[in-house]
């Protein structure tokens, strides 16, 4: 009874994502094939916006997969394969943009904004604490009462002097 849902869950858990790599494209050498797979996941299929050539069925993706494997077999390093493609399609072909002056904003912008936010929070709480340390300001009612009391005191002092003089 419980076995069936369990089996389904297990099957779902173990299911590999659908891949576009066709058997005849694959290399016999498993190490090289794994390198080709890892590299393919980093390369954009240039006609399908945001898919890697590893998961796209487009013809150009097929062509690029075969090309990546040919170059790896020919002894290219991973970087050499990427450089070859960047020379033809620009940085656009890389799914992970390279870090260089024109992409500094992209890579470091979020951290800069985080820093500015943290600074703003810090300043805000410091100011709050400084305000809290001072005695609370008087309300309008209290101000009025204070003025009245001061007036009375002044009047009383004057009257007191008189009284003392008289008595």
């Amino acid at each position: 009874m419980i076995l069936r849902p369990l089996a389904v869950a297990l099957a779902l858990l173990l299911a590999a994502p659908a891949l576009a790599v066709e058997p005849e494209e694959m290399l016999d050498d498993p190490v090289l094939e794994q390198r080709a797979r890892d590299l393919s996941a980093e390369i954009r299929c240039v006609v399908c916006q945001n898919e890697s050539i590893d998961s796209s069925n487009a013809e150009i993706a097929h062509e690029l997969r075969v090309l990546v494997r040919e170059r790896l077999v020919a002894g290219d390093s991973d970087q050499e394969v990427l450089d070859y493609l960047v020379a033809r399609y620009g940085d656009f072909v890389l799914l992970r943009p390279p870090v260089k002056p024109s992409t500094y904003l992209l890579w470091y912008g979020p951290f800069a904004i985080l820093l500015i936010g943290a600074l703003a929070v810090f300043v805000y709480f410091r100011r709050q604490r400084a305000v809290a340390a001072l005695p609370p300001a008087l309300s309008a009612e209290e101000e009025a009462r204070l003025a009245r009391l001061l007036d009375e005191a002044a009047a009383g002092e004057a009257g007191g002097d008189d009284g003392r003089g008289r008595s």
């Binding site: 916006q49 150009i60 062509e63 690029l64 620009g90 656009f92």
Partner: protein
């Protein structure tokens, strides 16, 4: 003073976001446009055989550095925009006298022959490309057109059909500048 400037901050944020939206939603912007990396580079190494059944020679890198400005056009019989640009391309080649070379991309030879028989052949050379030459040229699909100067350097690259607007605005002035 600083406190008063602080009130301008939301206005500034709004201006930045609005500017970004304006840029992103502008009708001239095509988000599927792939930037070209081949400009001002020498033509890539390639050597394509002629299309069987056509009496037009094939195309190789050596044909492109003969001291003459040439146009290279990727096309295929199965490509609808290629059919759309064919008349404009033919007229351009005839009017300017600039040699037009074709690269027949992923096509059946008999289909290409029939296509050219129907529409006319403006190409002086045609190489049959099973797919790799397109990658060498940084081509993402058909049609795409290049202008190569006399020293074999790529001076212009256009993805998509050559419509009269682009021919008048970009192609003719460049050809005139390259061929004094």
């Amino acid at each position: 003073m600083i406190r008063r400037l602080l009130f301008l901050l939301p206005v500034l944020v709004f201006a930045v976001i609005a500017g970004y939206f304006l840029w992103g939603l502008a009708p001239e912007r095509d988000p599927s446009d792939v930037p070209t990396a081949m400009l001002d580079k020498p033509t890539p190494a390639f050597d394509l055989a002629a299309v069987p059944g056509l009496d037009v020679p094939g195309l190789a890198t050596a044909d492109l550095a003969g001291g003459e400005v040439v146009m290279v056009n990727f096309f295929a019989s199965w490509c609808v925009p290629c059919r759309a640009e064919h008349a404009f391309l033919s007229a351009l080649a005839e009017e300017t006298g600039v040699p037009l070379y074709g690269i027949n991309h992923r096509d059946e030879p008999e289909d290409a022959v029939a296509w050219l028989a129907e529409l006319g052949n403006p190409y002086q050379r045609i190489g049959a490309d099973p797919g790799r030459a397109a990658v060498e040229w940084g081509v993402t699909g058909v049609p795409e057109t290049f202008i190569i100067d006399g020293s074999g350097r790529i001076r212009w690259h256009h993805r998509g059909p050559l419509v009269p607007e682009i021919i008048e605005r970009d192609v003719k002035p460049l050809l005139a500048a390259l061929r004094p």
